[in-house]
């Protein structure tokens, strides 16, 4: 087999071979919770920047073990560093969790459709996140805050299982201290020393004020949490066309060629993962589609 140029990336920055993987190195690693960690990566090839839209994902490759789709969780305007937040659920994610600073990862991407941060200009933006669902939303929140004057209200509602499961605790506390953003946090249950909200994240919808006729809502979390959140938002007057969800399915190629991520007629890797609720409603509510 002849050896091709290992950096065969054309002028558009897209590999001619779509499963070509760029090499990145871990420059920082942080423990977020007992099963979740974040890594900051830098590219080792000539292309120094990593441009992406909030809501997009990469296929992360750990040498010899495999690949996994992970949403990008960093600041989209900090293009020199690529950040991912990963929960250890299988062989690949645990393998990545075993790497230390200086470790190597392959990266393919960014892929997929992102959050409607431009379409939300002039409106109230309501981000509702559950569990690790906060990670794919964080880049959007960074963007909204960096362009604060373009948006009306910014509201984040976040729900986790218990206080120990809260992701980005310090970041949430920082956001809670901001005057021009509303950050509400709740847990499903807590032990005696918790003084904050207890109850599922849908209960936060009624506790904030926003204009349902002029808003964009972005929801990310387990599918059932998204379903109930949509119902709750609709109860408060938000229309389907203004609600966006982030879907997740089994992905192997991430580029629409392997067929695994289909829900009915849609490929989550290229039509999603972010969908306007209107687009996905029929698939969302069907069992075993």
């Amino acid at each position: 087999m002849a050896m091709a140029n290992k950096n065969s990336i054309n002028q558009l920055g897209i590999a001619d071979n779509p499963v070509f993987t760029r090499q990145f190195r871990i420059i920082r690693k942080r423990t977020e919770t007992y099963d979740t960690f974040s890594i900051d990566l830098v590219a080792l090839d000539d292309i120094a920047v990593f441009d992406f839209e909030p809501g997009q994902f990469n296929m992360l490759y750990i040498f010899g073990i495999g690949e996994v789709p992970i949403s990008i969780s960093g600041d989209p305007e900090n293009t020199g560093t690529l950040t991912h937040t990963i929960r250890k659920v299988g062989a690949v994610t645990r393998g990545i969790g075993g790497l230390k600073k200086g470790g190597y990862l392959g990266v393919r991407g960014p892929y997929g459709a992102g959050w409607p941060i431009k379409a939300a200009a002039g409106k109230d933006v309501i981000a509702v996140a559950g569990g690790i669902g906060l990670a794919p939303l964080r880049p959007a929140i960074y963007y909204l805050l960096a362009h604060r004057e373009q948006y009306s209200r910014i509201i984040l509602m976040y729900g986790a299982r218990t206080p120990e499961d809260i992701l980005y605790l310090r970041q949430l506390e920082k956001w809670q201290s901001l005057k021009d953003m509303t950050t509400l946090v709740t847990v499903d249950r807590a032990l005696g020393d918790w003084r904050g909200n207890v109850g599922v994240v849908t209960t936060l919808v009624g506790r904030s004020s926003f204009d349902p006729s002029n808003c964009i809502s972005m929801i990310c979390g387990p599918e059932i949490m998204m379903r109930y959140t949509v119902l709750e938002l609709e109860k408060h007057g938000v229309e389907e066309k203004d609600i966006y969800v982030s879907m997740e399915r089994n992905m192997k190629c991430g580029i629409g060629l392997c067929g695994h991520c289909q829900i009915g007629p849609t490929f989550v890797c290229k039509d999603g993962p972010v969908y306007r609720y209107e687009q996905i409603r029929n698939q969302f509510l069907k069992r075993e589609m």
Partner: protein
């Protein structure tokens, strides 16, 4: 042969006759031009696609008898070269192979280095491609070579293929290309198209070129212009062929019908017979799903990425942390049939079914997509 998006010449008036005894010259010319020849051949009581060298490698005189869950061959006295319809193989075995290495990588001191294979420039000639298969190739072109991300290995192989199509004069017992509007007569996507005519005192082929390369090759064959009578005889045979399909499927609003019937209990009735064996996905010429597998050498110093055929019938095809989305056989059968007749239209603008009948023949339970479509239509 370039992809069907290139201009195809309509040579309606340039139909020529190639005598049976001159057929071998076609193969010889292609061979001289550097093409590897692939065509139907008998193996293991089946007609499959394999390398061929000469005319005698073709299934001369063989006829197939196909029913739901049944495939038999019969040797007859008629010395036809193409007197059968499609077998379990489709051309995807050569263009979209079951196992393909995408790249190999080696660990070095600074991480790892990925080596991407060079494209495969072999020239291949496919002899005996049926109209339904031409449509299947065009469908794969759309998915694998014309989307936002292209499979460069597929595209490379596809660009180096010369297609000799054959019009089905004897449709198979499970064929329904006429219903799917994909045959039986090949109209585009080929370099040369042949119709085999066997009469009591003559055996010959009517031949049309469908591209510049086809015309080029044709010009080197000893042919004569077809007479009006011969042209009409060939047309009549193809008309009769269209009327003698083994199956029919009414495609009128079938997409909407299936969407509306997503929760219909009939899916469970079908699933009671379905073994989820995935045979249908293996023999289907449009199925393209693959698994991307990463493997490593025992010493951990080398790794490879492979693409292998996968099937939506496997239990973990739709697995995400915690479990699969489609666990029941009902959901998996429904996924396959609705993909072919409904979702595909929304995704790619055509049906995912070309009416070749392979899924019906090769299903061990004899489940028949045309029968099930009709049942849903009756239930309306």
């Amino acid at each position: 042969m370039t992809l069907v998006t290139s201009t195809v010449m309509k040579n309606k008036n340039n139909i020529v006759i190639l005598e049976r005894e001159d057929f071998h010259i076609l193969l010889e010319i292609l061979f001289r031009e550097g093409y590897e020849l692939y065509g139907p051949t008998v193996n293991n009581e089946c007609i499959i696609y394999d390398r061929i060298q000469k005319t005698e490698d073709l299934p001369i005189g063989w006829k197939d008898h196909q029913k739901a869950g049944s495939y038999r061959l019969e040797k007859s006295d008629e010395k036809t070269l193409f007197g059968y319809s499609v077998g379990p193989h489709s051309w995807k075995k050569l263009l979209h192979p079951a196992n393909e290495r995408l790249w190999e990588a080696a660990a070095d001191g600074n991480g790892f280095t990925i080596n991407i294979p060079q494209g495969d420039d072999s020239k291949r000639a496919f002899i005996g491609v049926r109209s339904c298969e031409l449509q299947a190739l065009s469908i794969h072109d759309k998915i694998l070579a014309e989307g936002p991300y292209v499979n460069p290995l597929y595209r490379n192989r596809r660009e180096n293929v010369f297609i000799v199509a054959v019009n089905c004069t004897r449709p198979g017992g499970t064929c329904f290309c006429a219903s799917m509007k994909t045959g039986p007569k090949a109209v585009s996507g080929f370099d040369l198209s042949l119709t085999e005519i066997l009469e009591s005192d003559a055996q010959y082929f009517t031949v049309e070129a469908g591209s510049a390369s086809g015309t080029e090759i044709l010009s080197n064959l000893p042919t004569r212009e077809a007479s009006q009578a011969e042209i009409e005889a060939a047309e009549k045979i193809m008309e009769r062929s269209a009327e003698n399909m083994g199956r029919t499927l009414n495609i009128d609003h079938i997409k909407e019908l299936l969407y509306d019937n997503f929760d219909n209990a009939h899916w469970e009735t079908i699933a009671e017979r379905c073994l989820t064996c995935g045979n249908c996905t293996m023999v289907c010429p449009t199925c393209f799903c693959v698994n991307i597998e990463d493997i490593s050498g025992l010493a951990g110093q080398s790794a490879e990425r492979w693409s292998r055929w996968d099937s939506c019938y496997t239990i973990d095809f739709s697995y995400i942390h915690g479990g699969s989305i489609r666990t029941s056989p009902t959901a998996r059968y429904r996924q396959w049939m609705m993909h072919k007749l409904a979702y595909w239209l929304d995704q790619f603008g055509t049906f995912g079914c070309v009416g070749c009948g392979r899924c019906i023949t090769w299903c061990p339970a004899g489940i028949d997509i045309t029968e099930e479509a009709a049942i849903f239509q009756e239930k309306q």
